[in-house]
Symmetry: C2
Subunit: 596 residues, 2 copies
């Protein structure tokens, strides 16, 4: 038994010392000791993010075995303990805000205030002639059937304090609280990479606070497949559940409560939209069979249950509603998002709704039919898996043009600060521009010489600004992402007897950013070459849909209906998909005729 001591570049983290046997894998020892080391590839040796230092020598924690004797391990900040990284900026972006407000207006048929109402009833006080007990008196006057235990505790004194006048919070059947309280709700979008949350006044729909954060599970793998593999390991499921509940959601909730100056015991409704794997991990349900043929989730649709069962700091009667999944790779984020996209309202023509996160999911159809499928896009569009990537938040380059002669860039930065990295729309622009000006070829390799293009270890990079570079590995990652999306669109349409010319509207959702330039997205072959006016960015439709479900039981019922009416197309068993994918892994496409 040797002692392993972890020290951290981040001086706010105290050293950790654990016992270990020689021959154990350093990454596993660290994880078991609660020392989080970033490993989005889940220890396969491919992402190289778990670089730590032993006696001044850099090693990958994932392929280092514990030697005989004691060991000091230094964790540099880059590989260090994942921080929940809570931000409010991206949700405050006025463009995102405008899109959200439009969605609210579009969904006005599902108004707030029907589920939870505040009313004042006046009861006769008990007398010797009518000594009816307090509760029966209240239930008779309100035609309610149930009452929360906490409200029974409030009832006797409140009844007599104001001569029988009782302000109360109720649903149609239940009394939830006695006294003046504003009922709150939380809508939560659990993305594989990013988690977003809003705290809402349930009677008015007003948003009291909002925030987003990285999903702390990312240290166990960047995509859902890596997470499922981790969940299959002993203790893995519990670790992933803890990462999302304790390290991501609870800190976000505390932040929102603090910002709004409220406490959890006034939160009565909680709606979650996430992909199928995220839903499983959130509930601590084994996701194993999602990734194994025949790709079967443990559940798609769940009845509401008590949020307190998950240990969340909310009222004991807070209902937790999970937006329903359609299948293994089309989850509640897509069903909730479809509600927000309004695709289901289109009576003529066909719309394509695409949510481009770490997974890409597509819905094609209209009021009469809906097909859906998924592809593994990877986190490139959300800033993951890219040396220069970041979310569409303050400091992110979101628009880029490059001069054809000098290769000098012109760009805009969210928040107007110095550039810290590129978000999805910035990456699309940068690569489209590099391709347009002939700096890179169809395979994404640099073919021009310029002071802006540097080379390290045989890998060339374009320097957008000091510290903000985009290299050939990044471009290759992006090409596989855009290839997966484009080939998924083609394969699904083909499978159900349609073609891209049948698309009358394209609704793009996800963390790419509101600055997305659709001309560039078509130029790189991510989206089909159809008239640009058909494209529209609809923001975080998963969160918008969850917000609608939070305020309205009818909206939640509508999402349930949408989930049941979608036909799931499994691309991975479609023999044409792999061929389409390989053909699409080129700028813009190996069949250049598609982009005439």
């Amino acid at each position: 038994m040797a002692n392993i001591t972890f020290t951290f570049e981040d001086s706010s983290i105290s050293p950790v010392c654990v016992g270990s046997r020689s021959g154990e894998r350093l990454l596993d020892v660290a994880r078991n000791a609660g020392v989080a080391i970033d490993a989005p590839c889940n220890g396969n040796g491919t992402c190289r993010k778990c670089k730590v230092s032993i006696s001044g020598r850099d090693v990958l924690a994932c392929n280092t075995l514990i030697p005989e004797g004691d060991l000091d391990v230094f964790i540099p900040a880059a590989a260090g303990a994942f921080k929940s990284d809570i931000r409010t900026a991206d949700l405050s972006d006025p463009r995102e805000q405008a899109i959200f407000e439009k969605t609210r207006a579009d969904l006005s048929e599902f108004p707030a205030g029907e589920l939870y109402t505040i009313e004042t009833v006046t009861l006769e006080l008990p007398s010797l002639d009518d000594p009816t007990n307090d509760l029966e008196r209240l239930l008779d006057a309100t035609a309610a059937e149930h009452i929360a235990l906490s409200a029974i505790r409030q009832l006797p004194k409140a009844l007599r304090e104001n001569g029988g006048e009782l302000p109360l919070l109720r649903t149609r059947n239940s009394i939830l609280n006695i006294g003046n309280v504003t009922p709150l709700g939380i809508a939560l979008d659990i993305g594989t990479t990013t988690v977003a949350m809003v705290l809402v006044n349930l009677t008015s729909g007003e948003i009291l606070a909002k925030a987003s954060a990285g999903n702390a599970q990312i240290r166990y793998g960047a995509d859902v497949i890596h997470r499922i593999v981790e969940a299959e390991r002993a203790g893995g499921l519990a670790a992933l559940h803890t990462a999302i509940i304790e390290d991501t959601i609870k800190p976000l909730m505390r932040r929102l409560y603090e910002e709004a100056g409220v406490s959890g015991d006034t939160v009565y409704r909680f709606v979650v939209s996430g992909n199928t794997t995220m839903n499983h991990l959130f509930l601590n349900v084994p996701p194993d069979f999602i990734r194994l043929e025949p790709y079967t989730p443990a559940f798609n649709r769940l009845s509401a249950f008590n949020a307190a069962d998950l240990g969340l700091d909310v009222h004991a009667h807070c209902r937790l509603i999970i937006a329903p999944n359609v299948g293994s790779y089309v989850g509640g984020d897509i069903t909730a998002g479809t509600l927000a996209s309004l695709l289901w309202k289109r009576s003529e023509g066909n719309a394509l709704f695409a949510d481009l996160g770490t997974n890409g999911e597509l819905v094609f159809g209209n009021a009469d039919f809906m097909f859906t499928c998924a592809c593994s896009a990877g986190p490139a569009l959300e800033g993951g898996d890219m040396s220069c990537g970041m979310r569409a938040t303050v400091g992110a380059v979101d628009e880029v043009t490059i001069d054809a002669e000098t290769l000098e860039p012109t760009f805009s930065v969210i928040g107007g600060t110095a550039p810290r990295g590129l978000c999805g729309s910035g990456i699309i622009d940068a690569i489209a521009e590099l391709f347009r000006v002939g700096a890179i070829d169809g395979k994404g390799k640099f073919i021009k010489i310029s002071p802006r293009i540097t080379e390290t270890d045989d890998i060339k990079s374009y320097v957008l600004a000091p510290g903000v570079e985009i290299n050939e590995i990044d471009i290759d990652n992006f090409i596989r992402t855009k290839g997966a999306i484009f080939s998924a669109i083609r394969t699904m349409l083909n499978a159900v007897g349609f073609s891209v010319s049948d698309i009358d509207e394209v609704l793009i959702a996800g963390g790419i950013g509101s600055a997305i330039n659709f001309a560039n997205a078509v130029r790189v072959g991510m989206f089909p070459a159809i008239p640009l006016e058909k494209y529209r960015y609809v923001g975080n439709s998963s969160l918008s849909g969850a917000y609608a479900m939070l305020l309205s039981g009818k909206a939640a019922a509508k999402v349930d209906e949408l989930a049941r009416s979608m036909t799931y197309i499994e691309l991975s068993t479609d023999p044409g998909y792999m061929e389409e994918f390989v053909a699409a892994c080129f700028l813009p496409h190996t069949d250049a005729g598609l982009f005439g």
Copy 2:
């Protein structure tokens, strides 16, 4: 600010040191410091049980104010921290057992096994042709609508382990568990003085373990009025709630789980029967208005809710059912007990059901009508408020005869041990015999000289055995108890136009003990002088009724129906009651003609 140090005769309790201001009441300082001192009169200076020692001098904690300077307080074992005093003996008494078995047989129309069933379903495993998710597959096959979160977590792996064969625990609408588990339930009778609990197999009705204990609230007052007064003090309600949940019920549950070798997460149903005040304190609901005109409880009937809301160690979906109250002083113990008494089945003639605990409650009627009322009997029949009193458990004298010449007693002791005290039936016998042989007069004062009769401080005692005496204060307490009961019977019958001659059967329940001698109970004027064959002892009917409600939803519905059909008579506002009571406080009665 002075330091008060509490040390304990019971060496297992560590000393406690707290700061205090001079002038505070010692009993309050002790309570606030978590030092439990027995004070059944709730600090009124009447019970004299809170005797503690300061510098070797005995004082009552309730009427001692903290002086200037530090203070050492010695708590003798007699006044010391209440111990939950868990016993299984009284419930194992073969006579009580026989009564319980008879009640079970009488209630066979409410069989076990309808609420919770164990079944095995066989599901087709998912395939590419039918990849329906696991949950939908299960709900379709079982026609269930809901599933416990814990069961969803079990489902994916269990489904595939045995080729689709799934053993499960369900109710009509819900799947509660996957795998082989025996569903358990708890029936709990919360008496003011004694708490009894049984752990039951919900499918077979088999009793796995049973135990009883003193109600730890007793240190805040012997009867419900004292408890309510305490609850009105700042922090009082929380202290009483803690006393019943943490100090009484949880230790009993742990004991039962240990004895049966089970864990709380297989307990799915929990039925509580208790008087109205006990129900309020159990749920932490202010009982204040129970004792104030117009005597209004916060609730009578409650829908079932989650037992886990009270922090009890049970399954997250364990339903908690409270037997309904009828009014402020007729609670769930009486409605559940009425079910067990079978009074509601009598199609001809009238029965009187009397539950004689710390409160005495009466139900008079038959299948067509029921009247009910309550009187404050005091805990004399359960061993409280008597220098020699104890519950009907091992060591209790439960039958006594006294030789008319020598005054020498002959007695039997439960368990055949040396006598430790007298239970209710023993007290009735002893006083009836002392009166029969002329040792005491109608006022309960000793009027004979004998070596068996001693005197201390002007108070005379009859020595039954070394350390087991019955004194004039005890007899006086008993006379008030039996007077309250007798006058309540007369007043209620009179109020509804009946007389004792209309009683065809008397069903006596409560902690008096199965050895009750009805001839003696009539001789002392506790019960009316009607033919003795009309009397029957029915044991702990509250617990029997709760047990029936535990096993059968129909039994629970029947109790609800009984509660709604009872007409509550408020004796305290009946002008004749006080007169009747005063007349009955004599052996056997001031109107000797009533006892022929």
